[in-house]
Symmetry: C2
Subunit: 329 residues, 2 copies
């Protein structure tokens, strides 16, 4: 990637003004029990409370709200395992544009239903044998629609980055200098946006991607310095974090700004979902809980530290959630 | 009750200063889907995100923080079905006082465990055959401890009223004049505090108690003008709302300030718990969801209205929650 094409902090500030009144300024939750348990101050940015149940609305609205309604009358197309789908569908609905979303057939039903509930058309595909990019591309051309990529776009990255901006501001308002910021990571758009915000507003903070074990393409890429791929396209309860490899643009930012990538097991993610239920009283999906899981399972030093945690989403199938609560997972 | 003994709005303002930095200023959640569904603006005060998982910490800390640590060295005693227990235990722990809590033996295990986790001693009793007041009274005398009643005390009422104060302020900041405010109601302490706050800050709002069907002592008392009792001491999934009758002090306030009392069935409460999971992404216990249930089940006119809803608590046993998600309830 050529450096001058990459988004910068000032673009996040512009995005923040653009999403105001549309996206929720989600609360930053600090819990006495969690602080006592970790010996630190853990600031949880509760993006499950965001419009559509995840941070994804931020980037989608940042990009879609800028579209020329006349030129974009063919609508928008996106491919997504679920949260980006809902964010794009809701943003398109507000903008008054049709949306077509290409989703894996094994996506949790709640994400498919919710996507349709925002007026979008949903087309499913087989994650193992078909290419979602190719399918989305085909629809895009046929309908003269605008593609809204899940992470590989400056507008998306800086839109997601507003979550980091808000967390950084909230930490500052509480007189806190963050030592680490942990971000649930798939294609790396949220992580890149948060890293850009922290580099400017909380420069002492080391930002870490957190991924499910076995799907740690980002951690391995950061280590090797080049883009690595996951061996499998699915197979974790963290269905939101199944991107096969980092994006070129997100990796160009993240490889410059991130500390070491972290991973957690499905069991650790499930434990974090239960902790969020029992103590924090917020609903997290497994993929939205991996950053919290990294804290709870001791993947970073917490004693005496101030740690920002992005709890990125809460769109969990009720049946899966019930199994997690019953400790079947 | 003699009028001059009753708490007033200015006492809520004092309580608000007292709890600052100890209690959480919980977010007021407004959800586009809920607004679209109801045709109104629904402002949800998410007290499940309060310290100890319910509003109860507010009143407990307001009363306990004022105690003279020397005179109160015998500690505090309380009887509670669970949420007040946790609020008192956490407040006593911060104050450095021992706490003994008398709880029904059928209280959800999570509430008993959480109460112990704040360092309190828990004594259980049989709800059907024993008097919790008598047991608590006995311990209080033996230990020279201070009784912290669940609702029948001015400090408790105005402490809980800070939730109403914050909701009223938040509505004002959003330019909203509330038409109705719905409050999950058991002994009536939270309801009375919220009613006092609204009478001052949102005088156009009609405040309604919401209770489980079959446990509508408050609704019937408001109708008859005198204190009525429930026929049974338990038998609803709303374990937090099982007080047998209104308190004299809370009724003196509520009978002057409230509109008609509302009731919802267990099925309606369960539906609201699921809605909070699927759409709002907050964890509510059934008793903490009855005010939301009243909105969702059409117990008040919502079209074109602005309605405040106190979502009072989220301490739900995981097993019960799983059954609700699986639609077994």
């Amino acid at each position: 990637m050529r450096g001058h094409m990459l988004p910068e902090f000032k673009d996040i500030e512009k995005a923040a003004r653009r999403i105001e009144g549309f996206a929720v300024r989600t609360p930053v939750i600090e819990n006495p029990k969690l602080n006592a348990l970790t010996g630190g101050r853990i600031l949880i940015k509760a993006e499950c409370l965001q419009r559509t149940g995840s941070f994804k609305f931020r980037g989608a609205w940042n990009m879609i709200s800028k579209l020329d309604a006349k030129k974009a009358r063919g609508g928008v197309v996106a491919y997504s395992s679920g949260n980006h789908a809902q964010g794009v569908a809701a943003a398109a609905q507000i903008k008054g544009l049709p949306a077509l979303i290409v989703m894996p057939a094994d996506t949790p039903m709640i994400k498919q239903e919710n996507t349709r509930s925002y007026g979008a058309e949903v087309v499913t595909y087989d994650r193992a044998t078909e290419s979602r990019e190719a399918i989305a591309e085909r629809y895009m051309k046929a309908r003269k629609a605008v593609m809204v990529p899940p992470f590989e776009h400056a507008d998306i990255i800086v839109g997601q980055g507003t979550a980091g901006l808000e967390l950084a501001e909230e930490a500052r308002d509480r007189g806190i200098r963050l030592d680490d910021v942990l971000v649930c990571c798939s294609g790396g758009g949220l992580t890149a946006g948060v890293a850009l915000a922290m580099a400017e507003l909380q420069p002492s903070a080391e930002v870490h991607s957190v991924e499910p074990a076995g799907f740690d393409d980002y951690a391995r890429s950061l280590k090797s310095g080049k883009i690595e791929k996951n061996a499998k396209p699915s197979g974790s309860i963290c269905d939101a974090l199944m991107s096969v490899s980092p994006g070129e643009m997100t990796f160009a930012i993240n490889s410059r700004l991130l500390g070491a990538g972290l991973t957690v097991t499905d069991a650790e993610a499930a434990e974090a979902v239960r902790f969020a239920f029992e103590v924090l009283k917020i609903v997290l999906e497994p993929g939205g809980a991996v950053a919290l899981a990294a804290v709870l399972s001791g993947k970073v030093e917490t004693r005496g530290k101030a740690i920002g945690v992005i709890a990125s989403g809460g769109n969990c199938d009720p049946g899966l959630y019930a199994r997690i609560l019953n400790r079947e997972i």
